[in-house]
Amino acid sequence: MTGIFVPEPVVQVRNLGKVYGPFSDETISRTGSSFGSARDAVTGSIVAAWDISFDVQPGEALGIVGESGSGKSTVLRCIAGDVEATTGDIRLANVDEGKVNILDFDASRRRRLRIDQLSVVYQDPAEGLSLGITAGGNIADPLTAAGWRNYSAIRTRAKELLTRTEVPIDRIDDLVRTFSGGMRQRVQIARALANNPGVILLDEPTTGLDASVASGVLDLIRSLLEELNIAAIVVSHDFRVIEMLTERCLVMHHGRIVENTLTDQLLEDPQHPYSQKLIAAART
């Protein structure tokens, strides 16, 4: 231990695992990066993620990179509660002072975390928003879930969030379906921030947006993390996204973490053979 001040983590993930199908120690030892597959050839079980541990500090974004099928979205969805983890321990500093494993919560308590503790911004806005209702309505949703009842207070908060995420206020009563991709993503971010969550999970937040719109959204996310002191976990296969948002990141391959390092060190001096391949491919 040194005297260097590192803030207490907001999220602590330990030995998180997700296996589809029956499994034993043999299944685990027959899968993973060194084995070249997440699928156990004997049982057919898929070890989508295993032995995943990390911390995230307030105001910090941690990146998770890897090719499609590496397990990065599985990790995010296990934390979000969209997917039930097979094993592991996840603690949030703001939930019972980090003394409980949220994976032990029942379904309804787990869902309640999504109102004001853990927000998710999905790649596809249709997953995080109701396209058939207005921008204001989408933001009102988590607010009413958190107990807001006063219409004008909700309206004021919605306007505040839309302003913060640079969505024109005069579009507040328009259906989200009429919004462009970049604007839908901003509304999704506004909704995610509605109840000041401690943690925000970003799953390919700018994939599918054109470059200039994407950089605007990334810039917004970066500013919000700094100003609101939120912890973020960002999953992306796009190194520009990871470089712009994160200082530290994990590389996943066949369901395992193969490298856990500083983002600039990953880009400039990757250590693991798979990381080297991934970085070389991204540069060409």
């Binding site: 260097i4 530290r248 500083l262 060190q265």
Partner: protein
């Protein structure tokens, strides 16, 4: 090349080696730095000299931990007086001391495309512990010193010229400077007049107690700002001494530069 043990020593590099293992090119290992040993004092400006490929930039990147270390230690004295070995810190500890304790200024400005000039430099100040007002004030002062006038402050950095970008980069690197500053050819794109301004700012650093380790490709800059020269060749330190002793040798080509 014995290590100085004076109270003002800020950085001690011991037996530092760096190899890259290229797993995807038949697993070959390339050793780029060999047994480096040197130290730097607070308020001292040390210039790294040597031909390209000598390992100067590699060394700076290792000290900033953008490259990992293969073997050896990098002892650094924190503001608190505590000595730490940078090669043993956690990633979060490195993130915490970057900017505040150790800074790195490269040749190129790397910024979010939509950041304005003043915002970029102000944020750099805030990240080093200044409050918002002080950061903005110092950002303005630093930019003015580098002749980046008011009309450019609200402009996005992406539209600046090469020389303007480099001066903004220097401003962001030098505002409320960290205790050890690593400079990797920070003035390579500047015209003579702006080069002089930048060098003046760099000179001020050491007067304020900052330790500087710098790579400049022109010898006049080295002569103007450095106290000591470490000459490198093929990843090794080949000579080390006061600038006024070593510079004439560099100029005559007795040591490669």
């Amino acid at each position: 090349m014995e290590l100085s043990s004076s109270d003002t020593t800020l950085l001690k590099v011991q037996d530092l080696n760096k190899s890259f293992i290229l797993h995807n090119i038949d697993g070959r290992t390339i050793q780029v730095l060999h047994d480096l040993r040197f130290s730097i004092n607070a308020g001292e400006h040390v210039a790294l000299a040597g031909t390209s490929g000598a390992g100067k930039s590699t060394l700076l990147r290792i000290l900033f931990q953008t490259y990992s270390t293969s073997t050896g230690s990098i002892l650094f004295k924190l503001a608190s007086g505590e000595w730490v070995d940078l090669t043993h810190l956690t990633d979060s500890e490195i993130v915490a001391i970057r900017g505040r304790e150790i800074g790195y200024v490269s040749q190129f400005l790397r910024a979010q495309p939509r950041r304005s000039v003043i915002d970029l430099v102000t944020r750099a100040g805030i990240s080093r512990g200044l409050d918002n007002n002080d950061a903005r004030e110092q950002a303005q002062m630093t930019l003015e010193k580098l002749h980046i006038g008011k009309p450019l402050w609200e402009v996005h950095t992406s539209v600046l010229s090469g020389g303007e970008k480099q001066r903004v980069n220097i401003a962001a690197g030098l505002i409320s400077p960290p205790r050890l500053l690593l400079l990797d050819e920070p003035i390579s794109a500047l015209d003579p007049e702006n080069r002089t301004l930048a060098l003046e700012l760099i000179q001020e650093l050491t007067l304020n107690g900052v330790a500087v380790l710098a790579v400049f490709h022109d010898l006049d800059a080295i002569e103007q700002v450095s106290h000591r020269i470490i000459a490198m060749e093929k990843g090794r330190i080949v000579q080390e001494g006061p600038t006024n002793t070593l510079l004439p040798l560099l100029r005559k080509g007795y040591i490669n530069s």
